[in-house]
Symmetry: C2
Subunit: 191 residues, 2 copies
Amino acid sequence: MARRKDHSREELTQIAIKAGTELVVAEGPEALTARNVAKLIGYTPGTLYNLFENIDELCTAINTKTLIRFAAEIEEILSEHSKPRKRLRRICQAYLNFHHKKPELWALCFATPLRSLNEDYHRAVHKVFDPVAEALLPISGTLRAARQDAKVLWSTLHGICLLQQSGKLNVAETDPAEILVKRFLDQFLKR
Amino acid sequence: MARRKDHSREELTQIAIKAGTELVVAEGPEALTARNVAKLIGYTPGTLYNLFENIDELCTAINTKTLIRFAAEIEEILSEHSKPRKRLRRICQAYLNFHHKKPELWALCFATPLRSLNEDYHRAVHKVFDPVAEALLPISGTLRAARQDAKVLWSTLHGICLLQQSGKLNVAETDPAEILVKRFLDQFLKR
DNA sequence: TATAATTATTGAACAATGTTCAATAATTAA
DNA sequence: TTAATTATTGAACATTGTTCAATAATTATA
């Protein structure tokens, strides 16, 4: 058998990304295998290797789409609010919301070690990061400081969700992520 | 072939943990396979399964030892300094130092998703966490607040090193982790 | 001491993973 | 109509984790 061409190369790529995303949402990051995705889209694993260099690249493509979707949320928040602190609190809330609603997709995006990060991916990171730095500008003073603060903020959100999800900081009380983020923000924005 | 008993069960367990640690330090977390460890200690994979339920458990055992070693460093810092802020800055410095000196071991401990965290592991986490909370007590006010702040601090260190190492926050400037941690601490300790 | 019970160790196997690639057939170009 | 291109497959290979019957050395028992 060969060459069906039910879809263009680009269509098929998008179909694979979508199927991969659904797999991860339904069964977690470890379900994202070449054979699983192939079966789900009605092709064989070999076809995936015609679209992607390797499955890491498919994984990165899924994460890139995830970041782009999240960036859109951030843009919406910025357009709805103009006060810097309100903006930042809402962004953090959106991050926590994403983690809460789609923990497996969040894990694939933020808690899965990956090689093969590419140009598209880094562009998507910028789409998320730059608006956060922008929102921080009035608080941090200089652009340079704002970008550093954005990294700190991002790292903290990241770390809080990661430690929560991984169970690697199971000590006595289990404070919900929201409480920890609030505590962080109260101090972080106090200036 | 069978039963050599060159070592007691407990000895062999420690030997395996040590060999695994060396493998990770030398070749990274992905080199930690049953066959690699077995070959390094002069046994077959089957023997490892007589010592550990699965390789995740070996991995957790390595991480537990890593945490215990790091906890000792923290204790030393606390004994050398009594001012709260100085203590915390030195602890953070030690964390960054660990990340810098043994990035692969750090990755195994903090950036590798694991099931099968056990009682020993959580005890080791306490050994690291509790002294940090203790150092924070004079700054945070109440014990509850101190423990929450310790989680925030820990998460931030974590997140900063993770994003740095993973390359997942590659945006224009590459601020060294030290700069970001300093910026975080300056604000975090301002009270 | 002789025999039985226990257990440490192996080696071979299995399933699942990523990945490669010659073969093939459908499409497109000449 | 023919040639060149390319999408797709299926079978293969290496590497992973893991299991387990077979075995032999040690320990307990009679």
